[in-house]
């Protein structure tokens, strides 16, 4: 009987194993994953599709990670049901695994809206290595692709396709691309560089229908947009977003909203049951509420918090916020927190906008506290700005410096500077 059972072996599962082993070198750990080789970096899938890395190069931990951490590997196995009162997980082969402490880290799955023709050959999603392998094979004899959704994943796959020399049409329902990360100025810069790289961007529209190929109606031949115009293509990639994989626990006594509800110790409403990563709704320190934030670094961090608590070292999650760094089309971008407030009048907004240099900076302040950051093409000081934001440092005295090229540690208040010079802050 394993002491710790972890369902899901991506970022949150990996983080949990590392944390547990940090404090409990001997307690038995079992990890259940549907994937045979789960310790790969999902964010690197676009680099795999572009041909920049091979699958072995995507491993985010050593090859012997599970063995080295003395983990019982139940890989290629699916957890079918959990009996919470009996503390028992039943697998697809009928095997039962009893736990003392359980972590549910089943992640997310791609959100696919109902589109007529979505069952045709040549419609892909983009979250697992097997999706990516099938897509990469299809791309061998494709010329033009339609990508639905211009968020982080949509833009990353678009770049991968462009690197492979394919013609890409990016379709986005919102009026601007990357609308959850940027504002109009930021989006315009990215749209401009993407158009120059040969991408066709169709914003403010969606795909209403996927149509067949004239030679084979079962294979993708094109899409019809909401306004009726048609675009011919060999494949469609749906990159609208991910939703929590809660199937395993739906209809059980585990408390769910859209994802599994957890407290700041990653504990669910049930004793000895934790949840982390894309399946959980954890604390957002900017919005001051729990929410879904399917991001790798947050999943890793939540997994660690869960692991420590499962192993008896009480650890509180400091919270995350919507935060991404992008490297696509040669323009580094960082977006953190509330970057495009709905009611801007209640915020103070500082900007620096030099579109001819593809440069844009925006700091959103509320009562002299940083609550939002956009940096386009000059991002090296993002971490210091994020530190001010996370620690709610009052920036009143130096706020004009925040968007300046000269912004750095030397403009910070003496006390904070001193700690930083000495060394270590969390």
């Amino acid at each position: 009987m394993p002491k710790y059972v972890i369902i899901g072996a991506s970022a949150a599962g990996i983080g949990a194993v590392e944390a547990i082993r940090d404090v409990d070198p001997v307690g038995t750990i079992a990890v259940i994953s549907e994937e045979l080789c789960p310790h790969y970096s999902r964010p690197m899938i676009s680099d795999f599709v572009s041909g920049q890395v091979s699958f072995p190069e995507m491993m985010c931990r050593e090859d012997d990670f599970w063995r080295k951490n003395d983990v019982q590997e139940l890989l290629g196995r699916k957890a079918m049901t959990i009996d919470f009162p009996k503390k028992r997980v039943t697998l697809d082969n009928g095997e039962r695994v009893i736990y003392e402490e359980l972590l549910i880290a089943t992640g997310g799955k791609p959100f696919c809206p109902r589109i007529e023709g979505a069952d045709k050959d040549g419609v892909f999603t983009f979250t697992t290595i097997s999706d990516a392998e099938r897509l990469a094979e299809k791309l061998e004899n494709s010329k033009s692709i339609v990508v639905i959704g211009a968020g982080l994943i949509g833009v990353s796959v678009t770049e991968a396709l462009v690197k492979r020399g394919l013609k890409v049409t990016l379709v986005e329902l919102q009026d601007k691309i990357l609308s959850l990360l940027l504002d109009a100025n930021g989006s315009d810069i990215m749209e401009d560089v993407m158009r120059r790289a040969g991408v066709t961007i169709v914003a403010g529209q969606s795909v209403q229908k996927i149509i067949g190929n004239p030679k084979n109606d079962q294979a993708v031949g094109g899409v019809v947009l909401t306004k009726g115009n048609q675009i011919a293509c060999d494949a469609v990639i749906v990159a609208i977003g991910v939703v929590p994989r809660t199937d395993l626990v739906t209809g059980t006594e585990l408390k769910l909203n859209r994802g599994i509800i957890v407290d700041n110790f990653m504990k669910t409403n049930l004793p000895d049951v934790y949840a982390s990563g894309d399946v959980a709704e954890a604390w957002d320190f900017t919005l001051t509420q729990n929410r879904l934030l399917p991001l790798w670094p947050l999943a890793m961090s939540q997994g660690k918090v869960a692991g420590y608590n499962m192993a008896g070292k009480k650890t509180e999650y400091a919270g995350g916020t919507n935060m991404s760094s992008l490297k696509y089309f040669g323009i580094p971008v960082v977006s953190i927190g509330i970057t495009n407030p709905k009611d801007p009048t209640t915020f103070e907004i500082l900007t620096k906008h030099e579109p001819e240099k593809n440069l844009y900076k925006k700091i959103v302040l509320k009562d002299n506290i940083v609550v939002g950051i956009i940096l386009v093409n000059e991002i090296e000081r993002a971490g210091t700005l994020f530190h001010l934001m996370k620690n709610r440092v009052n920036v009143k005295k130096f706020k004009r410096e925040l968007i300046s090229e000269a912004f750095g540690l030397a403009v910070l208040p003496a006390s904070l500077r001193k700690t930083m010079c000495q060394g270590y802050i969390r």
Binding site: S41, V53, V334, G383, T384, F386, A406, A410
Partner: protein, 146 residues
């Protein structure tokens, strides 16, 4: 583990730390030739200036380092024995996630190689190049945990 401590009250902002770090991380290790190399060698220490204040900062090797937790590819790891944060250039994908979370801005972007560059405390030297070449000892090495 060694940690480099900066003393802003002594630093005069000459920038020699950046020069010697650049040279140390160049191919030729020659102060004249290093600046003509392609790809350009990168200083891993940064002189922070807001006159009259100046001091030089490099990776602090944080405990529970945010860069290690956030790293998407596994390029950033902690050496279990020394506590030193190591960066594997071959695994780095230049996603800049570590740049986004480092409070010190201690990760520099090597655009030519599309990877980050960080201080390695000059493992091969007795004293890190920035410390050894600081003319008025504004940089010193202190022994801290593990």
């Amino acid at each position: 583990m060694k940690r480099i401590i900066a003393r802003e009250e002594i630093c005069m902002g000459c920038g020699l730390c950046e020069v010697y770090c650049t040279v140390q991380h160049s191919k030729t290790k020659d102060i004249i030739k290093a600046y003509k190399e392609t790809p350009k060698p990168i200083s891993r220490v940064r002189l922070e200036v807001a006159k009259p204040i100046s001091f030089a900062i490099q990776c602090r090797n944080c405990e529970d380092a945010p860069c290690v937790i956030a790293c998407l590819s596994g390029a950033m790891t902690v050496d279990e024995e020394t506590g030193l944060i190591k960066h594997n250039k071959d695994k780095c994908i230049g996603c800049w996630t570590c740049v986004m979370v480092c409070p010190y801005g201690a990760l520099k972007m090597d655009i030519s190689g599309k990877v980050v560059a960080k201080c390695d405390l000059c493992q091969e030297l007795e004293s890190p190049a920035c410390v050894a070449n600081c003319p008025n000892r504004a940089l010193t090495v202190k022994e801290v945990r593990p």
